[in-house]
Amino acid sequence: MAWRLSRRAAIGTATIGASLLAWWLLTAVTGIVGPQRFPSPAETWAALAQLWDPGYAGGRLPQQVYHSLRLVLLSFLAASAIGVPLGMAMGLSRRFEAFINPTFLLLRPIPPLAWIPLAIVWFGLGDGGKIFTICLAAFVPATINAYVGVRNIDPIFLAAARVHGASSAQLVRDVILPGALPLIFTGLRLSLQASWTTLVAAELVGAFFGLGRVLNVAYQDIFPGMILVGMVLVSLAGAATTMALAMVERRAIPWRAPL
């Protein structure tokens, strides 16, 4: 086992190393891939330095990251705060589900990105439209997984709690919520992913600040180094928030083995 792991790690490191070497050889040394197509390591570094000081596309690196991160977190939290209780309510009451489902059936097939033009008409290019679009994107997975999570709870647990005299509030707090938590978190993970995808798209379509704006301006300037820096920053920010959510999940569901 230890041998397997170390072999895997060694091959992995070698692969990444070889790719970086190939990147350097193709762009900087031989010039097979021209600077108009893909930046060399040095150009990428220079772009990063420029973004750090004096800044690019209306802001310096920390400001651009902060702007995008804030929009994602605000929207994600708002969407979860509405979506999870709504999904649980749909799971708890079949009547409520039957009533709400049609709206879902009509709106769910529309991809979140398709709301962007409408959001621009309604809210303009500022933060409001982005929060609206990201909320819609994050809302659906949060709601559906909370709903499925409640529906999948073993009815025997509910009957057992009832028999022992649990009130409805106790039932929700001590049986239903813990039982649905694993799926709720699955939904939140998907929501977070959808939030980032939507943010990037929304900022690419039109924005004043943010990482998507950096990508957009870099594209218009044909500045491959900055495009790469923007992509890496978006991925890092996405990965960081995903890891933070995984930490919350471990704290919230200590009884479940990590995946």
Binding site: I11, T15, I16, L92, P109, P111, P117, L118, V121, A201
Partner: protein, 260 residues
Amino acid sequence: MTRRPGIAETAALTAAGFAFFFAVWWGVAASGWLPRAVLPTPSDVATTFMALIRDPFAGYTFQQHLAASIGRYLMGFALAAAIGVPLGLLMGWFRILDDVVSPLFEAVRFIAPLAWVPFAALWFGTGIGGPIMIIFSGAFPPCVVSAYRGAKLVDQRLIEAAQTHGAGSLRVIAEVLVPGSLPSIISGLRVSAGLGWQSLVGAELIVVSAGVGYLMVQGQSNLATAIVMCGMIGIGAVGFAIDVALRFVERRIKAQWSPA
């Protein structure tokens, strides 16, 4: 949990739900609280829809925009499936390939598909190649992951039995690995089809000159909300149809394969 309502009650509540949705929309739009240009009524949208089918807008009629989108989508999705599924299967079969490709895959996994837009446009242009690459980058990962998982989940005994009977690598892959991982592959293709469609919409909002996404952007810059909504309906309907079709295939395949 409340009592299970009867079929009649469920149907009534569902009908009430549909009525509620359209009543709220119509009520808010007709009240004059918001200008019609900002929030058209459902009938305004229907009228606009008929007009878009008849008269070209942004260069083409609605059907032509839709056909352009679907054509691009099919090419990107087919490319993702044609490369992703075999790659995933081979990664599940050859350990060395798994060890080499997995770290690279992990490294690019967090890049949102739409973040590829600038490079896609630089490399392949904004006509047909760029959008296809963006659809590809959205649809590719689930293809690889599901084929890989499917290959890993194939019963080891079946593989060993085939090998004991003298089947070579190629035959084991073709006759055991592929059929054994088909259910997982189909589930992955369904996810991938949805993500690809979503990526297409994003791509069309940003870089093309025909397609439903482009129609919506043009509608948006003319402040024609009804046109934007028609685009959303078209996108939603096609996405829904794709999902229903793949769900059907998935059920058929799973029903055929489950006894084994």
